[in-house]
Amino acid sequence: MRGAVSTADTKIVADGLHFAYRSQEREPVVALTDVSFEVRAGELLCVVGPSGCGKSSLISLIAGLARPQQGRVLVNGRTVRGPGADRGVVFQELGLMPWRTVNGNIGQGLEIARVPRARRDEVVARFVAMIGLGGFEERYPHELSGGMKQRVALARTLAADPTVMLMDEPFAAVDAQTRVTLQKDLLRISMQTGKTIVLVTHSVEEAAFLGDRVMVMTRRPGRVKEIIDVPIPREERDYDALAHDEPFNALRVEITNSVRAELW
């Protein structure tokens, strides 16, 4: 294993990943090459990088929705060979079932896991409360605002109780105000659940605010450029307070410059 030392609280190991796919014009595109990193249990790792640097591919590889041509991903010490309920994904396009209500969508993972009805209802009710969607249980996705749909997608993934949560630009499609609320929700929920989270974003702001560490990717083909620690406990993360926090602003500038250097 190159440059990776696995310990008991290592949750995800990416080891020498190389991934290429065919574009719509059938041209081979190398999305990722020689990508190795680790994610610790309970950590929130944010991945930033220029467009097309393979951030989304990285999520697909960990989720098992795509297979690398070289290298492998280990989750809980086992090589990923396909998708599974232990790795939940919050997709950029959300992927809520239009024919299921809020309750039906949140409970889908439990339904698939054949959790008995009574227990399922209990868990669903708990997550509806957690995301503040009480009263909307029987609504269909098209009746919800963007932020509400986003919360339902998050709750659906959480309710299936994965050990790892993968989030692909989850807040890209909502307005700025809603985004801040959702980010705070995510911090709170991550502390409540202790999930290991990998969150891909194109926003340095978001990455610095949410991440325990921020992984910067190079432009395509994506490699790991550097991983930057954000040594601020999650409970102390507050936009207003951090706006005037010198060390935090210095980190933000550092990450911004690192990403900007990859833009050309």
């Binding site: 079932m97 659906r156 299936a160």
Partner: protein, 258 residues
């Protein structure tokens, strides 16, 4: 009753009133002779006469049962094979040319052969109907399955779903708006093919009622049968098909703008 309070719906009733009025005028004034075109009073009498003897009801039930039977067979075959073809490239490459070939042949073209195979009656009529309905449902199912966004499939996979869950929780409901429009169109195609088939290949049903009436030169009964056929269709579409669509795909917000 709600529709009567709705001016737009009322506008749809108006042409029927105009048509009825013209019909009544040309027959009552003798512009068109009664032996050529029976007037509304005669047709009404023929209808009530057929109904009082129970003949009309029997033929309606027979025809509707045949339609429902053919729809059930077509649904099972069409959705089943449509799912297979929609989810499997090789299967669709294998099936589509064949299905296209048979689709180009009007269902009623099979009537002569079907009579030779199955004689006169429900089997022949159903065979012809399935040939009219199946293709519509099959093609709509294939199209519907292919229209399901990949992210829904990925979502269910990452929730731990396998093949079974993908079909039941993603592809089938995802294809349902298309399947529904296939069913609706299929009932329309089937209803027309049904009457055509019953004209020649059956000894009961509304088509046979018309055919039989012509043997006795009963223009009033022919018109009665035709009006019942058209009216029944409107009832089926408004009372059965539209509500199903409202309760499912419209409520999900997945109706496609075609």
């Amino acid at each position: 009753m709600r529709s009567l309070r709705n001016p737009e719906k009322l506008l749809g009733v108006l042409p029927f009133a105009v048509l009825g009025l013209v019909w009544w005028l040309v027959t009552a004034t003798g512009v068109v002779h009664r032996n050529v075109l029976a007037g509304p009073p005669e047709v009404w009498r023929a209808t009530t006469d057929l109904a009082s003897r129970g003949l009309l009801q029997d033929d309606i039930v027979t025809s509707l049962l045949r339609l429902v039977l053919a729809m059930a067979v077509s649904l099972v075959l069409g959705v089943g094979l449509g799912l297979l073809a929609g989810l499997n490239r090789p299967v669709s490459d294998f099936l589509l040319p064949l299905v296209s070939f048979f689709n180009s042949i009007s269902g009623i073209a099979w009537i002569p052969l079907a009579i030779v195979w199955f004689g006169l009656g429900t089997v022949t009529v159903t065979f012809v109907l399935v040939n009219s309905i199946f293709f519509l449902i099959f093609f709509n199912t294939v199209l519907g399955v292919r229209s399901v966004p990949a992210v829904l499939e990925n979502a269910v996979k990452t929730l731990g779903g396998g093949r079974r869950e993908l079909v039941l929780q993603v592809y089938l409901p995802g294809a349902l708006p298309f399947i529904m429009s296939g069913i609706r169109g299929g009932f329309g195609f089937g209803w027309r093919a049904l009457i055509a088939a019953e004209l020649t290949a059956a000894t009961s049903g509304l088509g046979y009622l018309i055919y039989n009436a012509s043997n006795y030169a009963r223009g009033d009964q022919i018109l009665a049968g035709i009006i019942v056929i058209g009216a029944l269709w409107i009832v089926i579409d408004m009372a059965v098909l539209a509500p199903i669509e409202r309760r499912t795909v419209q409520r999900w917000g997945t109706v496609r703008q075609v």
